[in-house]
């Protein structure tokens, strides 16, 4: 990728390949450990962190207020009604789950493909997954109407002698999302154990040693342990890969198994998964750009990372574009009156504006990523990530609302208008997500130290050269 705009003596560019470096040169095992663990172990929390935390947690309190009011009054405070019985709750659920998927993609699929550049962004992308799943999981729970009975979704022997109905995609969803949440947490925690060991050994405070000591489970870096650990990581990655593909496929079944025009299509699973990865990578960039600036991690989260993530986004964005194209094509090719009307209504009906917001945010504007100057510009990528996530939110809005509000019978047509409680819940989860993320950044190692050490040139074992060296002594 050697192009004219690359400076010849730029230390961040590998002179042999001409590609941007994944890690700045000159790091040692010690400097990597110092730099990453200092963020957690410092007794001086940066003032900016407090400012961010204050802002994020005040926004998060919106969700508390909105949910409390919801529990008191019921789902009638939302804009949902007939025929649009699935409103913001399902849109936000799908949007958040989708955002989580990039974390798993980075931690699992890129690990299997031996993409070592992922190492520095892997941990916080996984954390992002977990927090996104937390926000996502909230919505179906509060949408069921009587959330205190949400455990009825699970099969368990009960005095009513009633069991769930396993032929429903909504129940598949319960298992897909709960498995996804569990495996993500386990994968994330197991990945963190060696680093927690490092923090235990380096912590100066009694309390820190105690807490990190418990969390590290007694990790001591034995090579037998490491080998089992590596096998387990690979297995978890191998399992998380089909899992992440299945989760969004199952979520798309919630729609695709229904007979509603606009939902009943076979292209949904792959195009949902691609969209999920697309929005997830956008969210990784939204988080990575401020973090690398704030904590001065430019030498570990490099422009090469931005460049690579932008390429993944460009690719998945094009897959999504193909999905949109196919939907339009099938509406015409199916020769179904209902499908055709649905598409026309989606584009030019009363809510047609949302379709064009989606097309411009998801397809038109992201084409800027073909330019290298965009891909390696943190500011441009930061702004673009917001555009893409807005677009992806509108994709779910278009799928949910514009398919539902005018279906087969004109007499049952209606409209949809979100209420202030819908907005409060959604904006509140954005605050909740940011709050959780800020806590993670402050109290846990956000870059995997052991994996970064592995990437250093001195990490390689070279018995041959040593033998020669010894003979020359």
């Amino acid at each position: 990728m050697a192009t004219k705009d690359v400076k010849v003596n730029d230390p961040m560019v590998d002179p042999i390949t001409g590609e941007g470096r994944v890690l700045a040169p000159g790091h040692t095992f010690k400097s990597v450990t110092e730099k990453i663990s200092r963020i957690v172990l410092t007794p001086h929390t940066p003032i900016g962190w407090f400012a961010g935390f204050l802002l994020a947690s005040s926004v998060a309190s919106l969700v508390m207020i909105a949910v409390t009011w919801l529990f008191l009054k019921g789902v009638g405070i939302w804009g949902i009604t007939q025929p649009v019985a699935w409103g913001f709750a399902i849109i936000n659920f799908v949007w958040w789950i989708g955002i989580g998927h990039a974390g798993t993609l980075i931690s699992a699929i890129l690990l299997l493909f031996k993409q070592t550049w992922r190492n520095s962004i892997n941990r916080f992308a996984e954390a992002m997954t977990i927090f996104a799943v937390v926000c996502a999981g909230l919505f179906p729970l509060i949408h069921v109407g009587r959330p205190w009975l949400a455990y009825w979704l699970f099969p368990y022997p009960n005095s009513m002698n009633v069991w769930p109905q396993f032929r429903s995609p909504l129940l598949w969803d319960v298992f897909a999302v709960s498995t996804y949440a569990t495996i993500s947490v386990v994968f994330w925690y197991i990945g963190m154990v060696p680093d927690l060991g490092t923090l235990r050994d380096r912590s100066k405070s009694e309390f820190g040693q105690y807490i990190f000591g418990l969390l590290a489970l007694g990790w001591r870096g034995s090579s037998r342990h490491w080998m089992r650990y590596e096998t387990a990581s690979l297995l978890l990655a191998g399992l998380a890969t089909p899992l992440v593909l299945s989760v969004h496929s199952v979520i798309s079944f919630d729609f695709a198994v229904a007979v509603l025009p606009g939902w009943h299509t076979t292209i949904f699973p792959p195009y949902f998964v691609a969209g999920a990865v697309y929005s997830g990578f956008a969210m990784v960039i939204t988080l990575a750009v401020p973090i690398r600036t704030f904590y001065h991690l430019e030498d570990m989260i490099t422009l090469r990372h931005l460049d690579n993530m932008a390429k993944v986004m460009l690719t998945t964005g094009l897959i999504v574009a193909y999905g949109y194209g196919m939907e339009v094509f099938m509406a015409w090719y199916s020769a179904s009156h209902w499908e055709f009307f649905m598409m026309w209504n989606r584009m030019f009906g009363p809510m047609g504006w949302s379709y064009w917001v989606l097309i411009s945010c998801n397809i038109v504007i992201p084409q800027l990523m073909w330019l290298r100057s965009t891909r390696v510009s943190p500011l441009k990528m930061f702004l673009l990530s917001f555009v893409v996530n807005t677009g992806m939110w509108f994709e779910r809005f278009v799928i949910v609302v514009t398919s539902l509000y005018r279906d087969f019978l004109p007499s049952s047509w209606g409209t949809y208008k979100a209420t202030r409680w819908d907005y409060a819940t959604f904006i509140g989860t954005l605050g909740l997500f940011t709050t959780l993320f800020l806590l993670f950044v402050r109290f846990l190692p956000m870059i995997p130290m052991s994996e970064i050490r592995m990437m250093l040139p001195q990490a390689k074992v070279n018995p041959e050269s040593e033998a020669v060296h010894e003979a020359g002594d």
Partner: protein, 180 residues
């Protein structure tokens, strides 16, 4: 666990992974078996050097996955056919294609949990105490930038003086005796 006293082993500290691997290979060649390397990141060659070639994590994972799949598929079949049969639009009670999805998810769930917790169990973790942490240089370096080889006292070939001499020949930064 009986209270153990005396020497746990001899701990040699190295600066680079290569020195560690060479020392471990030599120790294995000299007949030592009860020993372990400690590194701040996975060093495959070190495990090879001490004769640790395969582990059973994959097997545990496979068994877990099969169990999860059977458990969920069995439960779905029992619930839908015997436990609480429901007529949903005339579809058969035993609608196995629909049962595949939750069974698939539980395969992954059980396999993943088995791999993670099986790995921890086989590693003997969590553990609250280990004699190696009595060595100050181990606490300082093993999890950040130093490489260790520990020959354990219950190795038949272990001798405090000879093993110390043996380790000293491989240019370690230090050799310390670790107490229980």
């Amino acid at each position: 666990m009986p209270i153990q006293e005396g020497t746990y082993g001899l701990l040699a500290e190295f600066d680079t992974p290569t020195e560690l691997v060479l020392a471990a290979q030599a120790a294995y060649a000299a007949g030592y078996r009860r020993m372990d390397c400690y590194t701040p990141y996975p060093v495959e060659e070190a495990a090879e050097a001490i004769g640790f070639h395969r582990n059973n994590v994959s097997l545990v994972c496979l068994i877990g996955g099969i169990l999860g799949c059977c458990a969920m598929f069995g439960m779905e079949t029992w619930v839908s056919v015997w436990g609480y049969p429901l007529n949903i639009a005339g579809r058969p009670y035993y609608s196995w294609p629909a049962f595949v999805v939750p069974a698939y998810e539980w395969t992954i769930l059980f396999a993943g949990l088995s791999a993670a917790f099986g790995m921890l169990a086989m590693n003997g973790l969590p553990t609250l105490y280990h004699p190696l942490f009595n060595a100050a240089n181990f606490r300082n370096g093993a999890s950040s930038d130093k490489f260790f080889l520990c020959i354990e006292a219950h190795d038949p070939k272990f001798s405090l003086t000879e093993s110390r001499e043996f380790l000293a020949r491989h240019r370690p930064l230090s050799v310390v005796e670790v107490e229980y």
